[in-house]
């Protein structure tokens, strides 16, 4: 009996080796690319959009690439383990798509110098680590203008996730856009302290509506807030994906993340051997931040929003162009100046007119 078992094991091992060799040969022709996701691909938000980008890469390159992804990877030690495994599995290009993957990505990159890494929303780079992000605040400026023109109560509701620079600069951009239309506009901010918790996001939206907000903006990932706005008969902006299906009467527009152009470009560079460590921060003009159709608003508001969009694309308008004052009334950006990118990426203060404090400050 034991003999039979050991024979079986030997055969299985042999088959396994042969199998590995066979896939190895195939892999030599295919470029293996991997993605690490913070949430589930079915979140219909942040991760869903990254996965759309991955699918676009598959469609573009067909048999020449082999893509994999790992979803629901917590930020921390688990992330390092997952990224390391992907590197060892022969992936030549790995996209890590959440801020908290920054250190794990760098650590794994040091140990795997022949693998290229791309970290989304971070600021630390290395020879084989690039960073990339989108200028979502450009879209949020337009949301602010639409909100100020739409709101009857003069109060915008904002569901925020975590008090990190990306979220805070989004709140500021929305407020600056809104103030450009109505200097007395108010914004109420509720922190969900979560990127993805549909029931809590819906609760937050309802709380804001109960307190008089009639336009809801969100920086969390699920369509729950949009749906709550639809139920209560107020307006809202979608996040990451076009959420019109969840708010046919509520959605004014959505900021849609379109990662496909960047992903296709970077994969191509690895194939051509031209990949370099870069810092990419694309926006509306690159097609990476896309506005969903302007709906549920009068034609003049729509035309106004489209005009702003065109100005941002042409570079004529920058959301963080001075004069900008902070909450204490101090002039931070002088008339005619523009807030440098690095200051936007490390923003931890509110602009004047926001009647709240940055949490933890």
């Amino acid at each position: 009996m034991r003999k039979i078992i050991s024979m079986a094991v030997a055969i299985a091992a042999g088959l396994g080796l042969a199998g590995a060799a066979a896939t190895g040969a195939l892999a030599a022709e295919k470029l293996k690319v991997a993605w690490v996701y913070i949430g589930p691909v079915g979140d219909f938000g942040w991760t869903y959009q990254h996965d759309q980008g991955r699918k676009a890469v598959e469609k573009e390159f067909g048999d020449k690439v082999e893509t994999t992804y790992v979803e629901n990877v917590p930020e921390g030690p688990d992330a390092e383990r997952v990224i390391e495994q992907l590197a060892r599995a022969g992936n030549k290009l790995i996209f890590t798509t959440s801020f908290g993957y920054m250190e794990p990505t760098l650590k794994v990159a040091k140990r795997n110098p022949k693998v290229f890494f791309e970290h989304a929303t971070g600021y630390k780079r290395d020879k084989n680590v690039s960073t990339y992000n989108s200028k979502f605040h450009e879209g949020r400026y337009i949301l602010g203008q639409i909100a100020a023109k739409t709101s009857k109560t003069g109060t915008i509701g904002y569901i925020a996730s975590f008090p990190i620079p990306e979220v805070i600069s989004g709140i500021n951009a929305l407020m600056l856009g809104a103030q450009s239309v109505n200097p007395d506009i108010k914004v109420k901010i509720v922190w969900a302290n979560s990127w993805f918790d549909p029931a809590k996001e819906a609760d937050a939206a309802k709380a804001l509506i109960d307190q008089g907000a009639d336009v809801i903006s969100q920086h969390t990932d699920s369509p729950a807030a949009m749906q709550a706005a639809e139920q209560r008969g107020v307006k809202a902006f979608g996040q990451a994906s076009d959420m019109i299906n969840f708010g046919p009467h509520a959605q004014l527009t959505s900021i849609v993340d379109n990662w496909a152009p960047y992903y296709i470009e970077r994969v191509k560079e690895v194939m051509d051997g031209t990949w370099k460590s870069t810092d990419t921060w694309s926006g509306m003009k690159d097609g990476e931040v896309v506005m969903a159709p302007y709906t549920n608003m009068p034609d003049d508001v729509k035309a106004f929003a489209q005009a702003t969009e065109a100005k941002i694309k042409s570079g004529e308008l920058n959301p963080f162009k001075g004069p900008i004052y902070d909450q204490s009334g101090k002039l931070v950006v002088k008339e005619g100046d523009v807030l440098p990118d690095k200051d936007i990426l490390s923003m931890n203060w509110y602009v004047k007119g926001i009647d709240d404090k940055v949490p933890g400050k």
Binding site: P40, F44, I189, E201, K206
Partner: protein
């Protein structure tokens, strides 16, 4: 700042938020009173949410969706029961495996439905009553799940305390050897209790995907199954305390959002932690009052008849 309209809306939101937890924890309480610790609540809930949504979307019937969710929760609870009760495996490990399995299966079932939506369960409208100030919406403006959870609570409270079935179930949970000696089918009773837990968790999942946020998204339970588990301990295994616990948790989680909206400048991280802090404080207070001794004596101990 706090007028009657806001107060009424806040109270209504609290009841709605507490209902998911109440449903899931009621089922778990029954399973635990029979002596089985099922850590698979989160998994059974999410499978209920996914199957419920898929069925309701396919058939257009929220009722069928809800029934399917209940059956799905039960089906997954049977996987757990098979391992933990009939094969006498470690209950903690089996429960965790059930949750992980449930999250995966639910993601798979729900995948085709990402990005779709349903019209959720309608709220009750009683002319005159629903429009009462402050309490109208809370008492007479909820969806069917809320009223079902309260009926279920009454049934479980009465059933455990006053009926023969409840007595036998508790006996199995306190001393399975004694119950076995009296001729009660310990493992069958525990299986039924676990199935009841699965049904309740499935119903809680349906509340999320068919009423609260009527769409499907992976991981949409976001840890509520674990809170339901904690609430059972919080309640000292007594159904009425469960009601108090679920509503307290619901109240703190809704109120913290409103406090933020008023812009009082209290750190939101602290506010977000409040529901958990409140639960811990209440737990400590309860055990200080010697009410924490309510754990069934055989909880978590596998029963093997010939031992």
């Amino acid at each position: 700042m706090l007028d009657a309209a806001i107060l009424g809306a806040v109270l209504a939101s609290i009841v709605a938020a507490a209902t998911t937890l109440l449903l899931a924890s009621l089922g778990e309480l029954v399973a635990e009173r029979a002596g089985t610790l099922n850590l698979g609540v989160e998994g059974m809930m999410i499978v209920g949410a996914a199957v419920g949504y898929a069925t309701a979307y396919g058939t257009g019937s929220l009722l069928l969706g809800t029934l399917a969710a209940i059956l799905a929760g039960m089906a997954l609870s049977l996987v757990f029961a098979g391992l933990a009760i009939w094969l006498a495996t470690n209950q903690v490990a089996s429960g965790l495996a059930t949750t992980i399995l449930g999250l995966g299966v639910a993601g798979l079932i729900g995948a085709p439905f990402v990005g779709t939506r349903l019209d959720g369960a309608p709220a009750l409208k009683v002319p005159g009553l629903t429009d009462l100030p402050v309490i109208g919406q809370m008492l007479f403006g909820q969806d069917a799940f809320v009223y079902a959870s309260l009926v279920l609570l009454a049934a479980v409270t009465y059933g455990l305390a006053r009926t023969r079935v409840g007595l036998v179930l508790r006996a199995v949970g306190e001393s399975h050897a004694a119950a076995h000696a009296l001729g009660h089918p310990v493992r069958r009773i525990r299986t039924l209790a676990v199935m009841f837990g699965g049904a309740c968790a499935g119903l809680a999942g349906a509340h999320l995907s068919l009423a609260y946020t009527p769409f499907w998204a992976s991981d949409m339970t976001a840890g509520r199954g674990w809170i339901a588990l904690a609430l059972v301990v919080f309640s000292a295994w007594k159904p009425l305390w469960l009601l108090a616990g679920a509503y307290l948790f619901g109240a703190v989680s809704i109120l913290q959002l409103h406090v933020q909206g008023f812009g009082l400048g209290i750190p939101s991280q602290l506010l977000s932690a409040l529901p958990y802090l409140a639960t811990i404080v209440a737990l400590v207070a309860i055990s200080a009052l010697k009410r924490g001794q309510g754990a069934p004596a055989s909880l978590g101990v596998p029963f093997v008849p010939d031992r």
